[in-house]
Point group: C2
Chain length 267, copies 2
C-alpha cells in the first residue's frame, strides 16, 4: 500500500479540491467523503471508492478491510496528511474519493432505476424535490428525514449540492442510500413525472396541508431558505400547499417546513 507523507501530494491536493469546491465535483463527477461510517455507507450503496486514504490508527480502530477490498486504490497516510484532508478537528483518518452514479449526474433528469408514478408493490411513491436549498446542513437534514419517513427518493434541482461534505455528514449517509435524481430542469422533471406535485409555499392563501389528499403519493417540492420555490417550479406543480401557522407568519425555515410536509405526506 503506497504511503503518502506529504500534504502537497497530488492525490491529497485533488481530494481537498473535491472537498472544497462544488465546481470541481461537478466537473469531475467525483466527490469526497470523510469518516468511516460515511465511507462504509457509500460502499454499501454501490459507490466503490476510487481512492481510499487511511491512517494506520484508523486501520486498527475500524473494520476497514471491506473498504480496502472495494477501493480501486488504497493509500496509507500520516496523521499530518489526515489533518489536511479532515474537515473536522479530530479526523477519524478515513477518507475516500468516489465517483457519482450516472443517475446522479447533472443533466440526467430521470433515473431508470426509479419507477416514476403509480404504485410500487401497492405502496404509493413519495418523493421530495429540492430547489436552491443553499445550506448543505439543511439539505442533509431533509434527506435524513426523508429516509426516516420512508420516502422513495430525492429529486435535486439547481442550486443544491448533495455532494457537499456537510450535506453528506448531516444526512448521516441518507444521501448515499436514497435514490437521488439530479436535474437542471426541475420544472420539466416535475411535469414529466406523471405524479401529483405539491409546491410548498409560505403563502397563507394556499391550500392547507391538512386539506391535501396524499394517498396517491406524489412529489413535494421545496425551495430555498430565502426565496422559496421559483415561479416556474410552482407553475409545474399540481397545487400549492402551506403549513398553517397559528404563530408568527413566514417563520418556519425550509427544513422545518419540509419536515412537516413530508410527515403529512406519509402520516
Amino acid at each position: 500500500m503506497p504511503l503518502i507523507t506529504s500534504r502537497e501530494n497530488p492525490h491529497i491536493k485533488a481530494a481537498v479540491r473535491l472537498r472544497n469546491a462544488a465546481a470541481e465535483r461537478c466537473a469531475s463527477g467525483k466527490f469526497f467523503l470523510e469518516g468511516f461510517r460515511l465511507c462504509a455507507d457509500a460502499c454499501g450503496s454501490g459507490y466503490a471508492p476510487e481512492e481510499l486514504f487511511l491512517t494506520p490508527a484508523a486501520r486498527e480502530k475500524y473494520q476497514t478491510a471491506p473498504l480496502e477490498r472495494a477501493a480501486a486504490q488504497v493509500f496509507e497516510i500520516t496523521e499530518t496528511v489526515a489533518q489536511k484532508l479532515g474537515d473536522t478537528q479530530h479526523p477519524q483518518g478515513v477518507f475516500a474519493v468516489c465517483g457519482m452514479k450516472p443517475s446522479s449526474l447533472p443533466g440526467s433528469p430521470t433515473n431508470p432505476q426509479i419507477r416514476w408514478g403509480g404504485l410500487a408493490r401497492g405502496v404509493p411513491l413519495r418523493y421530495i424535490a429540492l430547489e436552491n436549498l443553499q445550506d448543505p446542513g439543511n439539505l442533509g437534514a431533509v434527506a435524513r428525514t426523508a429516509e426516516a419517513l420512508g420516502l422513495a427518493g430525492l429529486i435535486i434541482g439547481n442550486g443544491c449540492d448533495p455532494w457537499h461534505p456537510k450535506a453528506l455528514r448531516a444526512s448521516m449517509g441518507a444521501l448515499l442510500r436514497l435514490p437521488v435524481i439530479r436535474t437542471d430542469d426541475l420544472p420539466g422533471a416535475l411535469r414529466s413525472s406523471g405524479l401529483p406535485c405539491y409546491a410548498a409555499v409560505p403563502d397563507r392563501g394556499a391550500a392547507s396541508v391538512l386539506a391535501c389528499d396524499f394517498t396517491r403519493g406524489g412529489i413535494l417540492a421545496v425551495g430555498s431558505e430565502a426565496e422559496g420555490l421559483s415561479e416556474e417550479a410552482i407553475a409545474a406543480c399540481t397545487c400549492a400547499v402551506t403549513v398553517p401557522m397559528p404563530g408568527r407568519a413566514e417563520s418556519l425555515n425550509a427544513a422545518a417546513a419540509a419536515t412537516i410536509l413530508m410527515w403529512e405526506m406519509v402520516r
Copy 2:
C-alpha cells in the same frame, strides 16, 4: 458617542468573550448579539442593550435610533473593530451586549410571567422542553419552529445554551421573543408544572404520537442529538411518545423529531 478604534479595547474584548464562551455568559448573566434584526428583536422583547456597538455605515443603513435610545451605552466602532466582533464574514456593524432576564437565569425554575397549566383565554398551553440539545443551530431552529407553531414558550434544561450566538441567529429572534424558562432541574420543573408531559423517545415500543391526545396542552420534552432524554426526565413525564417511522430506525435527528412532535401537538 465614544469612538472605539482598537480591537484590544476592554469593551470589545469583553464582548468577544461573551460571544465565545458559555461560561462567561453564565457567570455574568449577559449575552452578545450580532445584527440589526436581532438587536431590534431584543429591544422589542424587553432586553435593553447595556452596550451597543455601531459602525458609521450601519448608522446610515439601518434605523438605529430606537436602539440607541434604549441602550445604556452606545459606542461607535471602526470597520476593523466590527470585523473582530463579527461572527460572520460581512458583519452588518450592529452589535449589542444585553442582560438576561431574571426569569431566564439558571436556577429560577419557574417564571411568574408564565401561566403554568390550564388554559390561557380558553387555549391550552403548549411548551417545548429541551435537555442537552448541544448543537446551537438545532436549538435555534426548534425555537423558531415553536414560535411559528404558536407554542407558549420554551423550557431549557441543562446542556442547552439559548444565548449562543448561533442559536440566537438560527432562531431568527424567536429565543428573544418567546418566554424562555431556564432550569437546572428539568425533571423537577416538569413534575411541578402540573401539565401533561410527553417524553420524545426513539423507542418503537413507545406510544405513537398519532395515538396521543394533546387537547389539554402540555409539555413536549426532547433530549440530546446523541443520547436522547435522560432517564430522570423520561421518568418525570406522563408518557413517552415516538414518531412512527416506516423508514430507517432511529434516524430522525432531534430537531426533526421535535418539529414533527410540536406539529402534532398543535395540529
